[in-house]
Subunit: 341 residues, 2 copies
Amino acid sequence: MELDERKLTILRAIIQNYLETGEPVGSRTISKYTDLNLSSATIRNEMSDLEEMGYIVQPHTSAGRIPTDKGYRLYVDMLMQDKQAEMDNLKLELNAKSEKLDSILKEAAKVIAVNTNYASMITAPRYRKHRIKFLQLTQVDPESLLTVIILDGNIVKNNLVHVEEELTQETLLKLNLMLNTFLQGLDLQEINASVIQKIRNESGGYSSLISEILDVIATSMESEEIEAYTSGSTNIFKYPELNDSEKASGLLNALEEKKELTELMYQEGDSDRGIQVYIGDESPIEATKECSVVTATYHIEEGVYGKIGIIGPRRMDYEKVVVTLKRLMSELDQIFKKDKQ
Amino acid sequence: MELDERKLTILRAIIQNYLETGEPVGSRTISKYTDLNLSSATIRNEMSDLEEMGYIVQPHTSAGRIPTDKGYRLYVDMLMQDKQAEMDNLKLELNAKSEKLDSILKEAAKVIAVNTNYASMITAPRYRKHRIKFLQLTQVDPESLLTVIILDGNIVKNNLVHVEEELTQETLLKLNLMLNTFLQGLDLQEINASVIQKIRNESGGYSSLISEILDVIATSMESEEIEAYTSGSTNIFKYPELNDSEKASGLLNALEEKKELTELMYQEGDSDRGIQVYIGDESPIEATKECSVVTATYHIEEGVYGKIGIIGPRRMDYEKVVVTLKRLMSELDQIFKKDKQ
DNA sequence: TGTTAGCACTCATATTGTTTGAGTGCTAAT
DNA sequence: ATTAGCACTCAAACAATATGAGTGCTAACA
């Protein structure tokens, strides 16, 4: 059987209608909804074909049809290659007051959630390898030493380290210079025993302090857990099909834990720019098998990128979501470019 | 009518039974449950009295009784003055790997949520007035300047500021010295026009940079939004009485927004140590009128404290919650004391 | 040959009625 | 003061019954 133009039109009509209402859609509705001027009976025949081809199903006999994942997939694919969609008239109020990465990210997540009415999650950029750009020790009070580590991409990490005795300005200066000399430009792998040995040799008696500092540096750089921020997780209650305690609880848990979702967003196949859509069962993780996830990538600099994801029901307004995401990505790129110059 | 010993026993039995089951409890149950050796008929009479006094109600005729907020209140008050409760055998695995405040707090929230099966929220310590302990400017790369501000209580804030031209080591040193001289020990109120004027006078040509830096300092210190971490918010789905989308959504929203809950936790009347219990309608904020909130205070140093709150159903296991909180408070105090010495 | 009207059939949902049982309040006896 | 007994109430569970949206099929039509 062939998927001709008319069938496509009908399928699109079914999906669009279902996206709006969330109710199975019947032949009569489509008969009026489209401008094909066909009777419901004809539509019924076509729908029967579409069902046979696996694009739609009846939740039960004598109900209208709803799209299958395959149906959504076709629809989304059409959407994607179709028009590049008018990005105008959509105004995202991303007012990044501070220039600090995390507040920009939080704001971005919020903007997405508010504009789409779905849940959103954004991850801080993942660096292939964190390299040390700069580090500095400062005596804050007689007992504590502040270590500030700046990684490339201007990620700032700081920690307090306890010391037994106050260090003199001079020692501090010397340590700073020494640490920077040996460590600048290195990533975690490169801080190996030989480097450490060299540092030790030069440290002159502060060996236990040095150990502690190196420890702090290591944990800062490891940062196994990618930072992530969520927003609008309660939006999922707006969609009856997700609104039973079983599903809602699972989803919210995933949004709270963040880990699994992060994995999903960093799924293979799109270390590249681009928008990825996971519809229902297509998702590799359990928590979102009942919904759709759309992810996008924003770039900070070569090889340094983060992800943003939108989590909503299968009958998500894909068009709006994609447009909104594209809009935000360009907004973010803008901000980060400005940041660079 | 008087609330004699027997009535109290019965009331306590009713409440305890209801805490366990969540079902209205009838006279026959109590007749067996207590060791008063009274028939159900007698219990019925007493229950009738208790209802008249406002401690219990029937959700509908021909149902058992459930405690009112007033009933819970009495019960909680008895509990509080009663035994100080055995704190042993409750082991909280609070393994604060890092010494950094926020990871300790996150961990604490999690520990509480896991141990109690309710939702938890913890706020970072609120300082009556943030005072500047130390600040430092560092040139990170030719275009950006790192400002590190340490407030008392060792709160570290950092920001990146863009500069047009690289500053010389010398200038930087001068600026650092100057800023520290003028600003150390001051709180936000005290950084007034006259101080700023003095700084400007000394700044020699860097006036726009100085403005920017002072701006950054101000926003860091304002910190209107108290940082807060939540954990276990999906626990609320475990309690049927909160498990309808209306209530759940409201609660989860409050947990996501955090703002309102923070207000609740910093309610008047307990800037002091101590545990506060809000039962249902007693809560001043809308979102928790259908549940109970127990808050506790942890102290970092004189006048510097944060809050932790547990949010659960009205029929919360108050005893366990209070014990767990006390245990955690002492744990936290321990950590922070160690931190000080 | 594609389209449509008409009709029988299906089945989720809503409505109504019925039963069951836990629980109460009252009264009279202990 | 306590208790046994009984009539009464009412939520919840269940069953029976409409209702109606929607389908598939067939026969007529253009």
